[in-house]
């Protein structure tokens, strides 16, 4: 028998182990009771009561001369009116007849303002940093109030690839301490800006089209980051540089405008603003060679299905749906925003693109760089100008394909043409580089043309720079009608003050313009 091993082991319970908590006692060991009290605040009781009062009441009085509205019922004594008219009828008719036959005022002109005989260069503006980088002025624009001029720096001969930074500079010409070498605002842009447009009524908004195909809108009144809207690189964005950007009035909302951009990829796109700072595509047009109407009188080129690169655009001032575009093929085209037909071969965009072209006008010998619709001519016979690399300016009427007048302004490329906003017969053209061995005209002129004086040669040619550099862009100032800004390849913007004969409308200019248009159409 084994000894009971279990006897070695016995059940038992051990006492529990306690760990005294220290923190409570520790805390209370270190605590003290304290009390505090704010010092006595002195108060006093007083009462206020006004002891005199007076009643008064205010009411607007019926004004004695009430505003007479034309639609109101007016008490007219027709009998006395009739006798009055009978009394004066003879006298008035006699005067009317006299007037109509009178030659008393022929050639009589009154000068109310000081006559300024010469064209002077008021300011030469430049941004030295951009000039050091050999950037050229690609576009100028005046703002809605006419006191700020903005220019964009970039390169027009950059070729297909350009990753250069560029700048947008603004100068306020009405400021006292204007320093022509220091712009009031410089915006750094990561890609080359090709075109600029200030908002037509909000003086601080400016839109620019970039080499990369994007559109950006800057607000010059914001100091930190002037960018407020941009298209970004989406499927809808242009695939080629944007050569012109315009603000379009939005029919539905008065204050908001839409942006229109034109690019050599053949698309004309209209953008609207979205809340998050993006520009979204609202509608669009695409120019495809096959859809351009060709009149039988024009020579037939082999078009193929190529996209037609659009370089410039101008809206008609009388019919807001009609616009004229200039294309690389040298044709100015009349287009309409009301076009319904869809463009061929334009896929990949969120909004269906339409083909807007309605009429093709007679071509230039090279790409058309600029078109401008006259703000003066009446609706029926709308006139526009186009210029291109063949050095010619064509004056067209929208009704017929052949040009009314063709002017060979120079042998150089013409980069920009603009109608004067005040004189119906005046326009300005900017000339640039080109192959010219024998002609004596210098490169880099701004030509001012006056149909009243001569229909063959420019009235005034202003040499933009001492060295020979092409002038790429020019804009008239609509508010201060004497000023014309022109930007050139050396990176300077010159603000020219025009002489009075370019800024004051003569008494019969409209008639001359209509006469000019109609005598050539016949």
């Amino acid at each position: 028998p084994r000894p009971p091993l279990a006897a070695m082991f016995a059940d038992g319970t051990g006492p529990g182990a306690d760990v005294e908590s220290l923190w409570r006692s520790a805390r209370s060991a270190r605590c003290e009771a304290k009390s505090c009290q704010t010092g006595k605040i002195s108060t006093a009781e007083t009462a206020v009561q006004s002891h005199t009062s007076r009643d008064a009441s205010v009411q607007t009085d019926q004004s004695k001369d009430a505003v007479q509205d034309f639609q109101q019922e007016i008490q007219v004594d027709y009998a006395s009116l009739l006798s009055f008219l009978q009394r004066v009828e003879d006298a008035v008719i006699k005067e009317l007849n006299k007037n109509w036959k009178s030659r008393a005022f022929d050639g009589f002109e009154v000068n109310w303002t000081d006559q300024n005989e010469t064209v002077l260069c008021l300011h030469t503006l430049s941004y030295p940093e951009a000039q050091d980088q050999n950037l050229q002025v690609t576009s100028v624009s005046w703002n809605a109030t006419g006191s700020v001029v903005a220019c964009s720096y970039g390169r027009l001969d950059g070729g297909d690839w350009s990753t250069e930074k560029s700048y947008v500079c603004t100068w306020n010409l009405d400021r006292r301490g204007l320093n022509p070498q220091r712009p009031d605002l410089v915006v750094d842009v990561p890609s080359s800006v090709m075109c600029l447009a200030f908002h037509p009524s909000q003086p601080s908004l400016i839109a620019g089209g970039l080499f990369s195909g994007e559109l950006v809108v800057w607000d010059t009144s914001r100091t930190e980051d002037p960018v407020i809207w941009r298209t970004g690189m989406t499927d809808d964005t242009h695939t080629d540089p944007v050569y012109q950007v315009n603000w379009l009035p939005d029919a539905k909302h008065r204050n908001h405008a839409r942006l229109l951009s034109v690019s050599t990829d053949g698309k004309i796109l209209v953008w609207r603003k979205e809340r998050d700072g993006r520009l979204a595509l609202a509608e669009g047009f695409a120019m495809v060679a096959q859809q351009i109407p060709r009149s039988t009188r024009l020579k037939k080129f082999a078009w193929g299905e190529a996209a037609v690169g659009v370089t410039s655009l101008s809206f008609s001032h009388f019919d807001p749906r009609v616009f004229v575009v200039g294309v690389e093929g040298g044709y100015p085209l009349k287009c309409s925003t009301a076009a319904e037909t869809l463009a061929l071969h334009r896929t990949g965009s969120s909004v269906p693109l339409r083909a807007p072209a309605e009429l093709a006008f007679s071509p230039h010998g090279g790409p058309v760089y600029s078109v401008s619709c006259s703000p003066f001519h009446r609706q029926v016979l709308n006139l526009f100008l186009s210029c291109g690399t063949d050095g010619q300016v064509h004056l067209h009427s929208m009704l017929q394909t052949q040009a009314l007048v063709s002017l060979q302004l120079s042998k150089k490329y013409l980069f920009c043409v603009r109608w004067s906003p005040v004189r119906p017969l005046v326009f300005a053209a900017a000339s640039g580089e080109g192959n010219c061995n024998q002609c004596f005209c210098s490169i880099g002129d701004v030509h001012l043309f006056d149909f009243e004086k001569s229909s063959q040669k420019p009235a005034v040619s202003m040499k933009q720079a001492a060295a020979e550099c092409p002038v790429y862009c020019l804009e008239f100032n609509i508010k201060q009608t004497r000023l014309l800004a022109a930007g050139d390849a050396t990176g300077t913007v010159k603000v020219w003050q025009l002489s009075s004969d370019f800024t004051e409308q003569g008494p019969r200019e409209m008639n001359h313009l209509e006469q000019l248009a109609s005598e050539i159409t016949d």
Partner: protein, 70 residues
């Protein structure tokens, strides 16, 4: 002045009526200041673009705007 009959649009008419009424009164007082026996019979204003003729009367004004073709 309050326009009674017009061949132009409303806003232009109201503008012409108001401005020319004052001018006619001023012209009339000028004529009478120079010679109290005299009075204004007809007012013609020639501008670059057209000619405005005003036939005045005690109660009414007739305003005619003519574009003289030359």
């Amino acid at each position: 002045g309050i326009p009674i009959r017009t061949t132009l649009d409303n806003s232009t008419t109201v503008q012409y009526a108001g401005l020319l009424h004052h001018l006619t009164m001023k012209a009339r007082s000028t004529v009478r200041d120079i010679d109290p026996q005299n009075d204004l019979t007809f007012l013609r204003i020639r501008s670059k673009k057209h000619e405005i003729m005003v036939a005045p009367d005690k109660e009414y004004l007739l305003i005619v705007i003519q574009n003289p073709c030359e």
